[in-house]
């Protein structure tokens, strides 16, 4: 047991290195981004589902929309409150949320997710070419 002090020292160094990112970045967490709603979105008050649902589940919703439109050919989404929407990212979602940079991108950048929707789907249908 004569190496005890080396082992303890090594363990301490190991723990310090492993936890380095935790204590180094302590208190420096980036604040959650503020999303800006467009006037159209404010006026509409509700999205196709409740805000909480959209915050948590919009990716699943879009996935269902994608498969339904592309593979089944159905294009109308009837929300729980009975309103009908055309299932289209560019033409429905971004018609209201026409500020992609301040709405979609802010949160996606914060969460470090890089959806590749925009490789094909056009950002903003209202923008002039």
């Amino acid at each position: 047991m004569s190496d005890k002090k080396y082992i303890i020292l090594g363990l301490i160094i190991f723990v310090v290195i492993v936890t380095f990112p935790l204590w180094y970045n302590r208190g420096k967490a980036a604040p959650a981004p503020d999303l800006i709603l467009t006037e159209a979105a404010k006026a509409a008050k509700v999205c196709v589902r409740s805000t909480d649902y959209m915050k948590a589940e919009h990716m699943q919703l879009l996935d269902v929309w994608r498969d339904t439109v592309v593979r089944r050919g159905a294009r109308i989404y009837v929300s729980p409150d009975g309103k009908e929407y055309n299932m289209s990212l560019s033409n429905t979602c971004l018609d209201c949320h026409s500020n992609k940079a301040e709405f979609c991108d802010r949160c996606h950048n914060y969460a470090s997710v890089r959806p590749y929707c925009w490789d094909c789907h056009i950002d903003n249908p209202k923008e002039k070419t």
Binding site: E57, G73, C120, I122, P125
Partner: protein, 263 residues
Amino acid sequence: MDSSRRRVLQLFGISSLALMTKPVLNAFAKEEKLTEEQPVVLKDAANALKAEQWAMVIDTREFESEDDFEPLIEACHQIHNVPHLENKRHEIKWIWGTHYHSAFPGKAARFLSEEVEHRPYLVLCNHCENPPCVRACPTRATWKRESDGIVLMDFHRCIGCRFCMAACPFGARSFNYRDPRPFIVQTNKAYPTRMKGVVEKCNFCAERLAVGQMPACVEVSEGKLTFGDLYDPASEVRELIRANYTIRRKQQLGTEPSVYYIV
């Protein structure tokens, strides 16, 4: 290891305790459900056009030169954001003109009417009833829609293997060797573009049929192209096929093309 009776009983006890932890873990694992489980309805638009098998009849007698195709090609390519690439090897085309021997190889009689031989022929995806491209696709990114017989593409799923291009006997499919966006002359904001590495082709304007409109080429053709349900005996296409002698491309291959040509 000491294998006394006491030890064995202890092991049994601990094992039965371990068996009881699963429901407890499940209870913890159950995530908090935000979502109100309301049923949502996904449906077609009321004015969507429906058919058992969409088909097109092209009256080739009405076309004098390839210039007559220009407005049709232009309308299609503009609506679908088809890029215009000069390089023939990178070219993307959904609908285009070709000459008789390319459109109908092996169909030429000796001393064929020169008028028929030199007439231009408009070609596009035939939306075959037995599409070989669909069988070739390893990811089911292309499939024949049961509801109306259109051979569709899911660009999300396409991995760009180009098996479908090899399988298609009509060359109806094009591959995006380059990012198409810089080559789109005028972007239609209502329709997505494609990205580098996917195959694309004519979709019989499925997105227009869904909102009650005829395909773009049919709309601008002023009656030279007719579109309708092949299995509806009263449809306009059936009327034309009955009244005129029509041919189809490479019929001997058994793919059953849905585009008919009046010659």
